[in-house]
Amino acid sequence: MNIMLMLLVVPLITAFLTMAILKHQKTVWTIFLAVSGYLSYALFTMYGKWDLSWSIELGFKMFGKNVVLSLINSPLGWFFAFFASLTTLLIAMFSIAYNDEKHDSKTAPIWLLLIFSNIGIFFAKDWLMFFIMWEAMSTTAYFIIAHGKEISAKAAKFYLSISLIGTSTLLLGIILVSRLSQTFDIGVSIDSLVKLFSTNYSAALLYIGLFITTFLIKSAIFPFYMWPSKAYAESPDDFTPFLSTVMSKYGVYGLILFILPILAKSDLPMFGKISQPAYMLAVLGAITSVLATILAIFQTDMKKLFAYSSVANVGYIVMGLATMSVVGIQGALFHSVNHMIFKTAIFLSLAAVIYRTGERDMHKLGGLVYKMPLTFLVYLLAIISAAGIPPLSGFTSKWLIVQALMAQKMLFVVVAMIFASTGAFMYLLRCLASVFLGQLPDKYKDIKEAPLLMAIPMTILMLLTLAIGVIPGIITKPIDAVLTGMGYNVEPSSWTTVHTALAKSDLNLTYLFYVFMVACVISLIMYLISGKQEKIDQIDNYTAGENPLEWDTTPDRFNFAYGFYQPFKQMFNPMLDLISFERWMSSFGRIVERASSALSLLYTRSEGAILMLYIGIAILIIGGMM
């Protein structure tokens, strides 16, 4: 049985199976784990076999011949699919423990359908298969985000309306492009578009524009950056990591698969060292990461905060891609994997916190480090990697992207990138300070550490960030295969050093880790040789001599967490009110609702019927005469 077909069939069958036995959730989620385990194993064995493919001929006639849906194991598709399935495996392990009676979101079958479409998108060879899986992914994601709750349904509706716009533009784009070359095959359509760029520039720009809007919508770049904050916050806690890391990569995959080869091959008006559309993409990525970082700093709900952080990270990836240079794309691919790892670690640790405390607002939590030390450690290493601090994995990819941007002299984009990564440091630490550190509120006095099954995936992710940080070769080697597959000539990367475009600026990461460890030893020695320390109670703080407990203040009143960056927020308030896409989109939604109720009113009153009949006849007559 062709392994590609098995990849599709296994999730499908288990989806229908689990739908039947949805009642007892333990078995359902173990099946889910088994399926993702199988997928990861199967994908692992497929590395290198780039000739694997599968196709099926449907009876439907398009362009005179029967329509063919086909899959191919391309290095790029394999890269994204394998790391996505790895993340899903870890999340599946987490959701077995997460989905007990109280939290079960009963979304396992739909999630399996989503994985089915996920595989389809990454391995699609022709546009029709790509579109079918894309649309299936959008609708199944709607049902998972809504998962039977009122508030989530509203958030999911916002997500749905935007992603349906995306699918409509994709459909229009596909039909336009396929008419050019009378076939749905992606490779052929790339070449036909490149030819079109030379003949009719504006039409080609329109075709590319349609595809780019779809991919921007799905990866939540600038004009469409506000749906993740609602969708991620309201979706089930164990689904959010999948949603924020894997699903935001479909847009990135689309950009790399289709847009980059076209922009690389066709001759376009240049802006400095890179073509204008690519620069436009970079500017969009820059605006997204800056705006998302600022918005993330002001959130009080921790899942919304990290939703905007995911949007910012995808902004970095798009900036990396827009450099069109080998180092830039290598940085972008590396960052998408890093983002999958550290963002899943963050969301899983938050899910563990929500699982135990049931609270999502940061200022209502505090001091959880004493009760959940492992979750704290996982979260700490994840945010160190997310902030791009050297010993851990997040640094290398950010560093690559900055190097590439500097080599291409995209000055203001690089400044935006650095602003965003420093701003990232602000909101990451805000969540650390208000959720894990500070005083422990009384109602969480007796919460326990996250259960074992949750702890295992979290620790694996933590070790993964460390391993990739120290030995970047684990990820750079597959990236080389992808880049050579895409036609870039890239010299093989070594296990420890990372090469870059600028002169004499290669970086040996293991050496960096080694230096950091020696520095740690030195400061540890200084810590040990000095005087003994005595452990005192958490509430015994310097409060100008007052004893707070006498004035019956509860300890968590001591957490300064609510208006954490209040002065900073006052600076940005006028700007944020001015351009808030969220307000425009929701007001647009209200206009449509008012129009629809007006129209349905038109139908209720009956006296207009005959009048409308004559209007109809008038249209026919006028139409006839023109």
Binding site: G367, V369, Y370, I384, A387, G388, P390, F395, V402, M406, K409, L411, V414, V415, F419, S421, T422, F425, M426, L429, L432, A433, L437, G438, Q439, L502, A503, K504, S505, D506, L507, Y511, L512, V515, F516, V518, A519, C520, I522, S523, L524, M526, Y527, I529, S530, G531, Q533, E534, K535, Q538, I539, N541, Y542, T543, F558, F560, A561, P567, F568, M571
Partner: protein
Amino acid sequence: MVVINIILYSLFAILVGLIFMGIGRKVSARMHLRYGPPFYQSILDIFKLMSRKSFTHNFVMDLGMVMALAGLLGTMLYVPIAGHSAFISNSNIIVIMYLMAIGSLGMAMAVTASGNPNATIGISRALTMMLGYEIPFFIIVLGLIISNNSSSISVIAASQAGSIWNWNIWHMPLGYIAMEITLQAMMGEKPFDAMIAPAEVASGPMVELSGKYLGLGLLTHAVSIFVETGLMVNFFFGGGSNPIDFVIKQLGIYLIAVIFDNIFPRYKIEQAVKFLWIFPTGIAVVQLLLLAF
């Protein structure tokens, strides 16, 4: 061999940093027409703090303070001192920028773990300030990288070798002015020390640090002075031919900062960020445009 090298460099940096702080206090005392403490006063302070008993609220405080010092030492090891650095690999500006973040992360984590609201307010101010000075700093650095097309400091320092006249301070005067203001903010000196304001938030982050932790905090501050002034020397003052020349230049820069420190009152935190984003950034952008085109 490298380990001994690293230990020597670390001790050298700490010693130099502490002596700079002592000299700084002496100079500011002399500006107040006071006699001022001996120049080795900071070393005495460090030994006193290290020998005292200290209080800790939980293991995160210890972890955080150790990490802060480790981060700064790691950064220091990446700064080339007068041509040769602790180990062979070339030093990269972007690495240093991100490594400096470990210092503030460790400090922030340790201090917030103490649970004192003053400390958390201090940290939120420190991070806002960090965002404030990071932008102009990077624009200046970007100008340097673009002008000699490499992000390694040793290349930048080497490009200014030879006579005094081809130091970068003369090629990029605007960059120097912007860097001077940003340096003031990076070192947390007077106009931009809203995070350690003793009057408002009882010495901000250091409110709960007693004995040993305060010692580690002071050491981190000393090494950060060494690093920041070291960067300044490498960027604009030709990197120095030998260590003594390098240290003297550093001392000069630090004293300029101390003099500014004694003149200015204190900015409110949003005024400081607004100031940093208008003047130094503006000057740096003009410098960048001059260099790039």
